[in-house]
Amino acid sequence: MPGRALVIAAPYLWLALFFLVPFFVVLKISLSTAVVAIPPYEPLIGTADDGSWQLNLHPENYSYLFSDLQYVLAYLGSVRNAAVTALVCLLIGYPMAYCIARASPQWRPALLMLVVMPFWTSFLIRVYAWIGILKQNGLLNNFLIWLGIIHEPLAIMNTQTSVYIGMIYAYLPFMILPLYSTLEKMDISLLEAASDLGARPIRAFLTITLPLSLPGIIAGSLLVFIPAVGEFIIPTLLGGPDTLMIGTVLWNEFFQNRDWPVASTVAVALIVLLVVPMMLLQRAQAEGPEKS
């Protein structure tokens, strides 16, 4: 059936055009070396002095990543930041998603709207707003001093804490929405059955609700974790000198050092380090329910 094939082909075409082709462009640049030219890297296929074709491959960019500790530390810092962000988002987002899913049906759209509403304002403006809140003479410090809880302003801005606050704030909706959709679909009679069989509410939550919402937990965590690893706007604006994240490193290589090959190498390494384990995890998840 050609119609069917066309429908299936459309998303693949999209992915090939906007994901696979750019990836290969980046991969190609990462195997090149920087030169002062436009574009600022050596072409993949060049001509040697004697006029013959030659292939210019420089895989040493990849070993360079390991020779400089900065890159390894930045990778680890990013993974840690993203993991903490995903975990805190889960801890905050689960009760929120649970309450929305259990709210009366006429309230649910309004509550969901509140979760999505921040997206109506530009992401950059919202991050700048956090500067206004967290800075030395900002809203939070002035408020706490006015309350008399503290006498000296807290140094939150440009620290690891301010980066966490910004990232958790920015990514929380991505955790809530998938959690909500799994919790909302759950059959309430399962909880009644658990209660009927002698399970107290907490026990029923741990044995029924939590395991059945696991797909939502995994989906939400991935949706937060993956973009959070590559995040560079929040650490740039809210972070301090000690905030070392791979997104920032990549940005600096590209725009300040104008070293496109190294920047591309950092990007490819990021994909290999993240996407491959994610794909394995997703495959395990897809096979899980049928096997066990």
């Binding site: 009927d196 002698g198 399970a199």
Partner: protein, 378 residues
């Protein structure tokens, strides 16, 4: 083995102690009264059915026994203990849900073991009891399957096993067979009765299917608009309906509206415009002349004959055959009386379809002995 309650009939004994006592229970949802002052005594070992159409309050009553709904007024006790103080997870009842509500992420044996684990039963004991109850419902070989890998009938068995494994004092069944197809449902009805008699648990079942209630129950409570309209054994409900609603709800019935003219002993004479004259009906206890009543007569009790061939039948009415439906084992005739009223008559099929004695538009006489009919409240 103790004699079944089907023989001992404790509800006939005024001194017998009821096992479940529901006392003037009321539940409102907003401005709707789902259950309205219901009182009911159910005895140990019964298979008791709450029968009624959708929205009659039967499910709300069952959920109050389970603990998912709290009554606004009234009391419920089981085996002498007030259960309304207890949360659902502490009540000595278990429920078989209409959707079965099997835990999709657990195997059959873990579903069945769930309740025993909550009670802190020892692992070895759990294994033994889960194995025994799965054998009882013939699901032993499916113990490691997930609910999604079972057929509808198998899921129903697992749900039953999960609900009886804790040996509750009362098992509540919410439309237990409604998800099964007709053949399987009929076979399962008898199996459920057998299992109930083997385990000796008191069953309270909600159903909208009158055949199911008739086949399985020791007694039936017919409900309408939040009230119980009649309680009785299946044959009492069928043979001695007290109201037009019950007569109409259980099986099919012909109803003649009229006024009670006179009562002598058990017999009453009803003037009915629909019948075009007076009808003599037996079974007219405790009614006063002048009351608006209905005469109820079951289609299979009406005698049908060719015009002039009926002889001296009481309650003779003249009519014409309008429709004939051949059901295989029986024939249904719709007879239009001279007054315009249509009467349904069923007769067992004798011989082949071609030999059936009546034709459409044929003039006929019908009638019935007074004892076959009954006077019910209009």
């Amino acid at each position: 083995m103790a004699p079944s309650v089907r023989e001992t009939q404790p509800w006939r004994d005024p001194g017998a102690q009821p096992f479940i006592r529901i006392d003037r229970v009321t539940k409102r949802f907003g401005d709707q009264t789902a259950v309205n002052g219901v009182s009911l005594d159910i005895y140990r070992g019964e298979l008791f059915s709450l029968l009624g159409g959708s929205g009659c309050g039967k499910t709300t009553l069952l959920r109050m026994l389970a603990g998912f709904v709290t009554p606004d007024a009234g009391a419920i006790s089981i085996d002498g203990a007030d259960i309304l103080k207890l949360p659902a997870y502490d009540r000595p009842v278990n429920m078989m849900f209409q959707s079965y509500a099997l835990f999709p992420h657990m195997s059959v044996e873990n579903n069945v073991a769930f309740g025993l684990r909550r009670d802190g039963v020892e692992a070895a004991e759990i294994k033994k009891r889960v194995g025994a109850v799965l054998d009882l419902v013939q699901m032993g070989e499916f113990a490691r399957r997930k609910p999604a890998q079972l057929s509808g009938g198998q899921r129903q068995r697992v749900a039953l096993a999960r609900a009886i494994v804790k040996r509750p004092k009362v098992l509540l069944l919410d439309e237990p067979l409604s998800a099964l197809d007709r053949k399987l449902r009929e076979a399962t009805q008898f199996e459920l009765i057998n299992i109930q008699e083997q385990v000796g648990i008191t069953f309270v079942m909600v159903t909208h299917d009158q055949e199911e209630a008739m086949t399985m129950s020791t007694r039936i409570a017919v409900m309408n608009r939040g009230r119980i309209v009649q309680v009785g054994t299946p044959s009492e409900i069928y043979e001695q309906p007290e109201s037009r609603f019950v007569a109409d709800f259980i099986g099919s019935v012909n109803l003649f509206e009229g006024t009670l003219k006179q009562v002598s002993g058990d017999e009453g004479v009803v003037a009915s415009a629909e019948a075009g004259g007076d009808l003599v009906a037996g079974n007219c206890p405790g009614r006063q002349p002048g009351e608006a009543v209905c005469v109820a007569i079951r289609p299979e009790r009406v005698q049908l004959a060719k015009r002039g061939a009926a002889g001296d039948v009481p309650n003779r009415l003249a009519g014409r055959i309008k429709d004939i439906a051949y059901l295989g084992d029986s024939c249904v005739y719709h007879v239009t009386l001279d007054t315009g009223k249509t009467v349904t008559v069923t007769m067992p099929s004798r011989g082949r379809w071609a030999d059936q004695p009546f034709a459409r538009e044929e003039p006929v006489d019908l009638g019935w002995p007074p004892g076959s009919s009954r006077v019910v409240a209009a």
